[in-house]
């Protein structure tokens, strides 16, 4: 698949370390994983990723997902995660409303 070969060419040129990112998708999902690659249409490859499900009543639920290729059409946001700051957060204490999906008016 083209996307995989493009992404590995990129990573051997500049990135020599694993970056953890958080991706928010158009259906309101929050997915955290190791950023493995991308292409011109912002399709993204995340390895060892998991979904964080936020709830107003219970702590954050973490669902393991594995190796994901997310199509660029569905990506809203990609952010780099500072692992130290993320580790200092106690996910079980967080109460938050889940993000809604993209609504077109």
């Amino acid at each position: 698949m083209n996307i995989l070969s493009v992404s590995f060419n990129f990573s051997t040129n500049s990135l020599r370390y694993a970056v953890t990112v958080e991706v928010i998708t158009s259906d309101g999902r929050v997915i955290v994983g190791t950023f493995k690659g991308f292409d011109q249409t912002t399709n993204v490859i995340l390895s060892s990723c998991h979904e964080r499900v936020f709830s107003e009543t219970e702590g954050v639920e973490t669902l393991p997902l594995g190796l994901y290729i997310i199509r660029g059409d569905n990506i809203v946001l990609i952010g780099e995660i500072d692992l130290e700051r993320d580790a200092s957060v106690d996910l079980t204490e967080i109460r938050a409303a889940p993000i809604t999906d993209i609504t077109r008016r």
Binding site: T25, G66, Y68
Partner: protein
């Protein structure tokens, strides 16, 4: 496993793909968005622009790395062919 934008999921073996992410799968289990209805399809074709995401086995990452290294090793060999001295 492929999830489409409409929430349907397709579990099967990837036979072919192209630059537009169109896929052909074999031995497919199709699940409705609600997760209540299932179909078994011997093969199916999925248009790339309907895909939300793909879940692939973790081993693929290793296979692709080997593939990329091998391609780079073969490239210098083929580019020196045909040079006139």
């Amino acid at each position: 496993m492929v999830e489409l934008k409409n929430g349907e999921t397709f579990n099967g073996h990837l036979v072919n793909c192209d630059n537009w992410m169109n896929l052909t799968l074999r031995e497919v289990i199709q699940t409705s968005p609600e997760g209540d209805r299932f179909w078994r399809l011997p093969e199916c074709y999925i248009r790339g622009n309907t895909i939300k995401y793909l879940r692939v086995p973790d081993e693929i990452i290793e296979m692709v790395k080997d593939d990329a290294v091998r391609q780079r090793q073969q490239a210098p060999v083929s580019s020196s062919r045909g040079r006139k001295s």
